[in-house]
């Protein structure tokens, strides 16, 4: 797989909520090469503090010139990132990792929570090349309506039906996004795609296992390089001893491959 290191110009900065930002970057090489579920590593500081790049999933791409990432301001690195303006350049490395495997003609369910929704839009968009919209179910959860609404909009624009859940009940189901899966229990087998907080993905993985459905999950770990060089991003395998490496073997894994802690 080919990766690139580019100085990408920031085309657009969209502040979706107080702490959620969508960045559009000019990056031909990455736009052309990337697949859904892959990620980029971004250098946020000009100096050496913070030292490490920060990983972000690709949220969308036009396949030609631009890529988008969608992120939440959490700590020091994302805070610095949030201070960049359109016109400035970011040092980015990507596309990295092993993304989602699209199962042609198979009914599908996308489950996203919070910023885990980011890569699912790219996935849904790509899926529509080989799947009918009615075969794609999208279940999205977040803390509040303010956070969820702008994210859900992208899927609706693709002509997909979106079901939502919020922690505070301000949009859709009041509770966990996983609850929305209940009504599909009698459905024929679906391919599940989950990205979100760890407990959510574990719940989706368990439910899929019970139903006998296949489930792909996108994991996060601390990453130093993103290039399969440092071996820092280890996550325990389900079978045998040893670890998978999230930046290379993942971030997307078959939920059966990994140990749920």
């Amino acid at each position: 797989m080919e990766s690139f290191q580019e100085k990408s110009e920031i085309i657009k900065v969209e502040q979706l909520t107080d702490d959620v930002i969508r960045l559009t970057l000019h990056s031909q090489a990455i736009a052309k090469a990337t697949l859904p579920g892959q990620f980029v590593m971004i250098k946020v500081s000009g100096g050496h503090d913070p030292l490490l790049r920060r990983p972000f999933s690709l949220h969308r791409t036009d396949g030609k010139e631009t890529v988008q990432i969608l992120y939440k301001v959490l700590g020091r690195g994302t805070k610095i990132l949030s201070e960049f303006c359109a016109g400035q350049k970011l040092d980015i490395v990507g596309p990295l990792g092993h993304g989602f495997t699209i199962k042609k003609d198979k009914p599908t369910c996308l489950v996203g929570g919070g910023m885990g929704i980011a890569p699912l839009l790219f996935l849904a968009d790509t899926m529509l090349n080989s799947l009918e919209p009615q075969n794609i179910i999208v279940l999205l959860g977040a803390q509040t309506k303010a956070e969820l609404e702008p994210l859900a909009g992208g899927f609706e624009k693709l002509g997909l039906v979106v079901e939502t859940a919020t922690d505070d009940g301000s949009l859709g189901h009041h509770g966990f996004v996983i609850d929305l899966m209940d009504k599909f229990e009698t459905d024929p087998s679906r391919e599940m795609y989950a990205c979100g907080p760890y407990p959510m993905m574990r719940a989706v993985a368990r439910k899929s296992e019970i139903l006998g459905w296949n489930c792909q999950v996108s994991l996060e770990t601390m990453m130093a390089c993103g290039l399969a060089a440092c071996l820092g991003c280890a996550y325990p395998r389900k079978y045998g001893s040893g670890y998978v490496h999230v930046c290379k073997d993942g971030p997307v894994f078959d939920s059966e491959e990994v140990l749920w802690l």
């Binding site: 690139f4 290191q5 250098k43 050496h48 490490l52 993103g226 071996l231 001893s241």
Partner: protein, 307 residues
């Protein structure tokens, strides 16, 4: 080939390098990982991830933590083992026209011996770098590299079993680096490389737990550069074999500091994670520095510090 000026070639014992810029073990995978970003054939040498006799799965995660201008790692020496390294990883490197230095590690002297003799027979291996920061399981887990006698024993063992150039990689977690450097010089090392990571720790205050599952880890990155540079300078004044400088090198200027302090070559480690292109930038920058200083060869720069 016409000699390009300024001349960047250096020799580390019998190991001839087109330029003094190598990659540090454990920070550049087995080379292939960087092939789409770096022109590997431009490198002085590639030092691969440390190899042991049998494969190791490494430590539980979290394995890395970010610190001020540095990072801690406790990878736990995860590696594919010498057999798979030779059958799966070396073939790719054979096709890249660049010297491959194999970093080896063991828990006992016998393991080092085994590795040295196995690798001695492999033509693609240009040199061996002996990581002596590993715990000696027979001596209660004290690192080989912190005891001059143990360091000497390991070096002698490798020397007796291997006719390739041997670089012994020193641990910085010692009172006096010159004692260890001299010990391994006496035991037949062709060169020393330093420094390996410095033992450090980080704590998650909210959880009241160490950040790393292994509790402690090795500190690397720009934060440690002043310490590494001092040790390289001390070692250069103490031994007669070539020195490979390592520790926090992120730019050509950093690399030149090590050369001036007495290193004949340098390794770039953590910086590969931050700026994957860094090695090529360092090579270009060293050339520019030499031109700016009106030096015809990098040799003029090595040890040229005026004190």
């Amino acid at each position: 080939m016409a000699l390009v000026k300024p001349d960047l070639q250096v020799d580390i014992g019998n190991l001839h390098l087109q330029n003094p810029v190598m990659t540090a073990s454990g920070t550049f995978g087995y080379g292939e990982e960087f092939a789409s970003i770096v022109d590997l054939s431009r490198l002085g040498a590639i030092v691969v991830k440390g190899i042991s006799v049998v494969p190791r799965v490494g430590n539980s995660p979290p394995r890395v933590a970010e610190t001020a201008c540095g990072m801690l790692n406790a990878i736990g020496l995860e590696n594919v083992g010498v057999e798979r390294f030779v059958s799966e990883k070396l073939p790719y490197l054979r096709n890249v026209n660049v010297p491959v230095v194999v970093n080896i590690l063991g828990d006992t002297t016998e393991e080092y011996q085994d590795l040295a003799s196995q690798l001695n027979d492999i033509p693609e291996v240009a040199a061996i770098e002996v990581n002596i920061s590993c715990p000696n399981v027979k001596k209660g887990g004290v690192a080989f590299g912190t005891d001059p006698e143990m360091a000497q024993t390991v070096t002698r063992t490798v020397r007796e079993n291997c006719s390739k150039p041997i670089i012994v990689k020193l641990s910085p977690n010692v009172t006096d680096i010159t004692v260890i450097a001299k010990a391994v010089e006496d035991a037949g090392a062709d060169a020393v490389s330093l420094i390996n990571t410095i033992l450090g720790m980080a704590i998650n205050t909210g959880r009241r737990r160490p950040v790393l599952a292994n509790v402690v880890g090795g500190l690397s990155g720009p934060a440690i550069k002043p310490i590494a540079l001092r040790m390289v300078w001390q070692a250069a004044n103490a031994v007669n074999i070539p020195i490979v400088g390592i520790g926090g090198i992120c730019s050509a200027q950093d690399a030149v500091e090590f050369l001036l302090a007495g290193a004949s070559a340098i390794q770039v480690g953590t910086a590969n994670f931050i700026n994957p292109r860094v090695t090529e930038e360092v090579i270009d920058g060293i050339r520019e520095y030499l031109i700016g200083q009106k030096m015809e060869s990098v040799q003029e720069c090595i040890g040229a510090l005026k004190v």
